[in-house]
Symmetry: C2
Subunit: 204 residues, 2 copies
């Protein structure tokens, strides 16, 4: 594959030079700087995981990160263990009590979501924090466990340079409307279908 | 929203108890343990970011992680800075020389991919590593800069308990066929469209 004729190499060079000009022009058009409201939704894997990957990027730039988990409780902690090695640059609050089919108590689930949202508002108001991750907030909104309008309004009114990531399936259209960047994680193939169980380091 | 009648609370409890029984039965069916071949593909954001999030999970469990970047070079380093704070538990190799339209030199791109694949084979053979991230390998395969059959064969022949994540758009069907878990990141909405530029901590 490495035997390129001089003509082929020249054609490639010319094509790539044109492509670079297009890329450079596109980058130059974009001048706004702002904190982004980012949504990771869809039935696929990677919604929370990509949010924690973004946390790494902020930490790599020397920033601080706040995390509120709306559904998951203390059992889900490998990322937390890793991120808390960054000391007080990560503020992590697992405010959930597990999935709805684990608690089987709707009033308790609603109360847990209200407490989680209270903590989220604290982090959103903290000027030392550069990224707030609201993990599984979409689930709380989907079940109407939190008032959608108030949540969307608070997110829209965030500090102009604050990044926020909201994760969970079935993001509400009103939240997508307010967002800057929305990615849907789509399941193409899953090992559970072939009897493989949840793997340490991957699922938990 | 918190005023539940006793009847409503009981109906919820019963519904969730049934759902838990279904969930438990599904979990019990899955008994295989194995290292997974995971693909993050699609035009949306979060492919590499979710891979680095998985690295956190492995690190949280006390494991070691190897990373080879096939396209990106040294300029892309915030996650790297953060992950290398885990010391020798992360082995990071940025073997790329930038995008094809930056180098404008096909022979050089092919040589860089060959060196990156050599390094990947070393990491795949290292018994101390629990997760290998082959970042943007899909791009190298898409442009036929590496021999697809040999790459897929090496990934299939990995150690049974080794997890591998391959990222990049346009994953080859042969690779998807060999994979355990494939997620497509789909772009729903992007801030570049409204003139917002790449943001520190988010895009780089």
């Amino acid at each position: 594959m490495t035997d390129l004729s001089p003509e082929e190499a020249a054609r490639h060079r010319e094509k790539m030079a044109k492509r670079k000009a297009v890329q450079d022009a596109e980058v130059a058009e974009k001048t706004l700087e702002k904190g982004l409201l980012i949504i990771h939704t869809g039935a696929g894997k990677g919604k929370s995981t990509a949010a924690f990957g973004l946390a790494l990027r902020i930490l790599g730039h020397g920033g601080r990160v706040g995390v509120v988990q709306f559904i998951k409780g203390a059992w889900h902690s490998a990322e937390r263990d890793a991120l808390t090695s960054f000391g007080d640059r990560v503020e992590w609050h697992s405010m959930g009590e597990g999935f709805t089919w684990e608690t089987q108590d709707k009033a308790r689930d609603i109360a847990a979501c209200a407490r989680a949202w209270e903590k989220a508002r604290e982090l959103l108001a903290d000027p030392s924090i550069g990224l707030v991750i609201l993990d599984e907030l979409n689930i709380a909104l989907r079940y109407d466990y939190l008032p959608l309008e108030a949540v969307v309004a608070a997110l829209r009114q965030r500090r102009p340079d604050l990044h926020v990531v909201v994760t969970g399936r079935n993001a509400k259209p009103e939240l997508i409307e307010a967002a800057d960047l929305v990615t849907e994680m789509t399941l193409v193939k899953h090992h559970f279908k072939t009897g493989v169980k949840a793997q340490k380091g991957i699922e938990f």
